[in-house]
Symmetry: C2
Subunit: 343 residues, 2 copies
Amino acid sequence: MIKILVDAMGGDNAPAATVEGCVQALKNDKELYLVLTGRQNDIEAELVKYKYDKSRIEIVDCPDVIDMNDIPTEAIKRKQSSLIAGFWKLKKEDDLCALVTAGSTGATIVGCQLILGRIRGIKRPALCPAIPNSRGSVTLLCDCGANAECKPVMLCQFALLASAYAEVGFGIKNPKVGLLSNGTEEHKGDPLHQETYKYLSKMQGIDFYGNIEGRDIMLSPCDVAVADGFSGNIALKSMEGCGKLVLGVMKKEFSATLSSKIGYLFMRKAIKNMRGQLDFEKFGGALLLGLKKVVVKSHGSSKASTIAASIANAASIYRKGLVPAVEKKLENVDFDTLIPEEE
Amino acid sequence: MIKILVDAMGGDNAPAATVEGCVQALKNDKELYLVLTGRQNDIEAELVKYKYDKSRIEIVDCPDVIDMNDIPTEAIKRKQSSLIAGFWKLKKEDDLCALVTAGSTGATIVGCQLILGRIRGIKRPALCPAIPNSRGSVTLLCDCGANAECKPVMLCQFALLASAYAEVGFGIKNPKVGLLSNGTEEHKGDPLHQETYKYLSKMQGIDFYGNIEGRDIMLSPCDVAVADGFSGNIALKSMEGCGKLVLGVMKKEFSATLSSKIGYLFMRKAIKNMRGQLDFEKFGGALLLGLKKVVVKSHGSSKASTIAASIANAASIYRKGLVPAVEKKLENVDFDTLIPEEE
């Protein structure tokens, strides 16, 4: 049995989408057991809409809710919220394997840092989504928003964390690591990135490729794109915005004339395939790396299918043993020796 | 007559594409007169392929060439290169209105800074492309790579420069200015962006909208996205990579089956329209703002049509009086009072 905690109140479409996603996830994976945190009445009102195995769902009543406008460090004090209560349970109960939330990113990160806790030796958790790339595989973008301010040691650790995720989660051997910068040449970037380049070049346990540009996230030979959380977030959102605009323009143009409407009938399958290949949310949400347990942050606008994918992803990553894999990788790198000037 | 200098040797497809682009530009605009810098023999060997008005093209022989691998501050010492000789001519000759190059971005920026010179009061030039957006208009992204390290005063000046460009170049009244960050909330970002937010809020002469995310560059109500050159470059390239991947997948899927091939025949016009709306290079290259004359940096991979568009854009921006418009805007803002701590 794999026991996963789901923040039933997190996200724009909660609890309807989260509850439906939980029911879907239970159907797809017979080993799952889900603990839903949130307003019991609201969750039960959704659950009655579905047929599901009642012995595999448990509700923990949390009357309070955190929304996107709350300041994360304040929000964390509300111990009766679905997210914060979830983090406390996750920390305390050994049999809980993972947490899935579509709630506030800021509050999630604060919960990871201040409640759940990091793997020994890791300075900061990092948010790491899997971006579809031109090889039909994924590029792991790490960090994409957990840390707006970074130091070289953090970027080096992101390289290690995402390499472990690429190996364990996607079966990529010797994942290639690129450093996201404003050009491919070694001298590019600000002092933070120039310094990080030097350390990544001599770091053990990763296969450093060099600097990469934003376009290389989706087009490159790299499996991991290391970024500070500020520019990593901008990269992710810029790609999302572009994808959304392209699909919007496509939809408009493809229904603009009789000819294009006829064409669309012949192309439906091709367009569906295309959308499938470009789906940012194929794996549900982004993983939070560097923590003692698996945490998946699903998009705020997650639909039921995205929540189900996030739960499935959390279960899969737990089964494959990401946390022990990171701990093993950490044994081979002494960050204090690699980066002596730091802290 | 509008006299424009073209770096005939700059870019991956030079001088073939640059020379062909020059010939196209001359045909489209009867007032143009072009000065091509580069290897005279190579340029002449291309020119003989076309019919054009010989009285409207002049060649300045420059035996040396700067390529992407040169270090910009070293490259600038090569005064016989097509780009550097171009900058010296542009600075010295009053009747030259603008320079167009598809050469090295780094060398172009160094040429702007060290040879051509900035408008009085402007700290740094900024690279500012026009990105297609969901309103069928453009978002001006400023800076997108000229300055990897920024200070608040620079970002505030980018807001002013790009606002002037939006007004003069695209006829947008009271352009809305967003600050590119890792979230929309006021507290988001690193100290540089948090501080800049405060100054932009009280700055005269611009209409500050607040923080925007990467997705808002293509999807938002803003006309200007202010960015430090590091994350602005990453945003631009990330969108380019995404656009390229989407078009690549589309091409593959649309020719994968007989059904989709038939569909394509009905959709050719729709797909052409779509590509037109999403073309990053509709206006040729990115403008360099804050300089005494108009400089357009065309993409390294520019084809002839892109070079022609860049030349047309340079002529248009000169005609519309961007430089005097910036100077006028500068009269209303006292940056030393606005940002007293700076320098």
